[in-house]
Symmetry: C3
Subunit: 304 residues, 3 copies
């Protein structure tokens, strides 16, 4: 069944971001978002600020409603086609907000009957816990979504608005070892926990290990994509973005707003300064100062 | 209990590939396949075309029945031992076929009672869905095998003869983000789906993310081994082989018959031409033309 | 509730390692282990041999009881504070032993009611099998711990005192392929199994593939951390330590006491000699002789 979202709703929702609306939005509705190849009359289309020919792209769009930057003129072509142009500062950001609110169905809150929850676990309000999720003795805040087949060991604290994707393992002990004289490995005990702050999202099949003697901490607003391994006692500041398949060894400290691309590995105890960027596949063996870009194996400062 | 497979069955099964049979196959049976160290009288042995001394190896085999290339002579030694030599064009391929058909037990079709399937999901004929599998609103074709603890989010289309191994997550949303002025991360919405074409096999604990606005597509006959991450909107042609622990970032396009070895990472939007090969551990930041071999960090064309 | 462990118990437990006890341990108890920032009066504190100022650190500790090396003097400061100093050869090792025995709760033995076990599986004594674990036709020894959502395919033998963490997949078939003339991929059959020897620990979301025609073997005492992929027919000796996110391709042979750091990939059929070390992020394409350290992409011998 086709969705039918009246433009008045969207204009109200984006009110703070809209600079102007060109054309007549009355009685107009949209029903889908689409990539550029499949735009139809009912798509809420958008033109990225990255393009150099935004006016032409806007005029050529098959959609009736288009979100654009501020440079677009309401030309004869647009007028003739009765287009509605919603001008905003950042079209990509606005379309993302509309997508998240109008096109993504969040799972309904509730604990699935197949989930296995320790009886001493505290669970906040409006929480979704999916099928086959296993939760040890933990604290789970409000508006949390934990997808299917995720496992939380004991001593995990998850704060509000956190999303954890399917198959992730949080709170497992690390396998830091020491060798004795015969070469036998003794695993160091891990009795710390994991704290995941507000608004964190963790991708599928990732893992966050519990701390050895204190906690592993994932700061507010971090987004960590799938197949990542955050080892014991890592401390991530706010808004750290890791795009997937990356490993942070034990006790790595990362300041706010750092971006780490995919398939990176960072040596234990390394410190990464605020707003630094680490390129895809980098092998980080040294501390990285704030704001710098590092790439390669071993990673070195990237100079443009 | 020992298996007992009469040679007549195997000869019939391999009929199209057999060039000649030397010796008397009547009333002979085999009961196992084995690596070279453990061959016994009842092994169906085989001699790789890679060896330089195939005649000697054939004569030294402890097995009664040996699949070989066409160069083997029915020498006095072989005759005296009453060996049966089945000559084919490609012994490795023939033994693989025999193994897959006579020695691998496919799980019996049926949906395990612990699997949790969305009531609007369509499931084809002869499908196996293992324990604790969670399936959102999806379409699943015929002869599909989905192993234990796999999760399919909504909007996944799986065509015929597909095998998905345990713990894989298909259709999860990616975590592509934009930062606002304060550095906060906003996740771009993902409303596309995943299409997995016929004859694809996906290894354990891998993941395929749903597309942002259109679908992520895995082409016919692709084989993607374990712990791989195929991000949003990737488009893989036919027969792409990925040997494990590899990550393709968003919107990567890969043409037919490409081979990607393990622990590779490919930057978003990269295009990889037909029959190209990417070496183990490569960090791919540029488009790769058809037929070329690229290795290293950053990956460069390999010249022999 | 605060733990209360009398020092007499700990002294008895560490008897073989204790060189001397300074101060009066009678009627003293400890209640926690801690990182250096959070030590309190009831912490069992310890001073690493790595520090150059162990005497001062011991004197400054807020704890009443401190495990140290042999160089510490029972100074006036320590005497005045009525500290108890337990001198051992290796404080880190001793504290780890105490942590593992007094502070880690092992799950109680038993098979969770949601685990799905093949009826022909043999299970030893004192085994814990967690929620949603799926076990094919396997043999499981004594004192084994298998955490939640793990999957064992058929033909897996797990010996005594093994720990497998959540989400791991053992015994899956690999996807070794050959291409035919049209480029189509045929998967080589895997009919071997997996043998995991005594005292092995495997991290979360890792996988060990079954052998093609013989078995994949993980030797005694190996510790393999999370998100690792041990492919078909690998043979690991004893006490191999892999710190996470590493992939060993098919038929890799590793001798005793090798250390492999994170995010390494090793080409198929490679041999790694006894006590060799492979650095983080290395791409190993050549055999590594015993005792050597190799790093980089491609990996080369590291000379200090």
């Amino acid at each position: 069944m086709k969705k039918k979202i009246y433009l008045s709703e969207i204009i109200e929702f984006l009110a703070k971001e809209i600079i102007t609306v060109l054309g007549n939005p009355e009685n107009t509705y949209i029903s889908n978002l689409s990539n550029s190849e499949n735009v139809d009359k009912f798509t809420l289309d958008w033109i990225s600020l990255m393009h150099t020919d935004q006016q032409r792209m806007t005029e050529n769009s098959k959609a009736k409603v288009i979100i654009t930057g501020t440079g677009i003129k309401y030309s004869e072509t647009l007028k003739k086609q009765e287009k509605v142009i919603i001008q905003v500062e950042n079209p990509k950001r606005s379309i993302a907000k509309v997508g998240n609110v109008f096109f993504i169905d969040k799972p309904k809150s509730g604990v699935d009957s197949t989930a296995i929850i320790n009886k001493n676990t505290f669970i906040g309000k409006n929480v979704f816990i999916g099928p086959n999720v296993v939760v040890g003795k933990c604290i789970i805040g409000n508006n949390v979504i934990i997808h299917a087949n995720t496992v939380l060991y004991d001593n995990v604290i998850i704060k509000d608005n956190v999303i954890i994707h399917a198959g992730s393992i949080i709170g497992v002990n690390g396998l830091g070892c020491s060798r004795n004289e015969e070469g036998e490995l003794n695993v160091f005990p891990h009795i710390g926990g994991v704290i995941i702050e507000d608004n964190v999202e963790i991708g599928a099949n990732s893992q966050v290990a519990r701390g050895a003697l204190s906690d592993t901490i994932i700061g507010k607003g971090c987004k960590i994509n799938g197949l990542c391994f955050i080892a014991h006692n890592c401390m991530l500041g706010e808004n750290v973005w890791i795009t997937g398949s990356t490993m942070l060894s034990g006790s790595v400290k990362i300041e706010d707003n750092v971006t780490i691309y995919s398939k990176v590995v960072v040596r234990e105890q390394i410190k990464i300064g605020r707003e630094a960027t680490i390129g895809m596949g980098a092998v980080v063996t040294k501390n990285i100062p704030a704001g710098e870009i590092w790439v390669g194996n071993p990673a070195k400062k990237f100079i443009k």
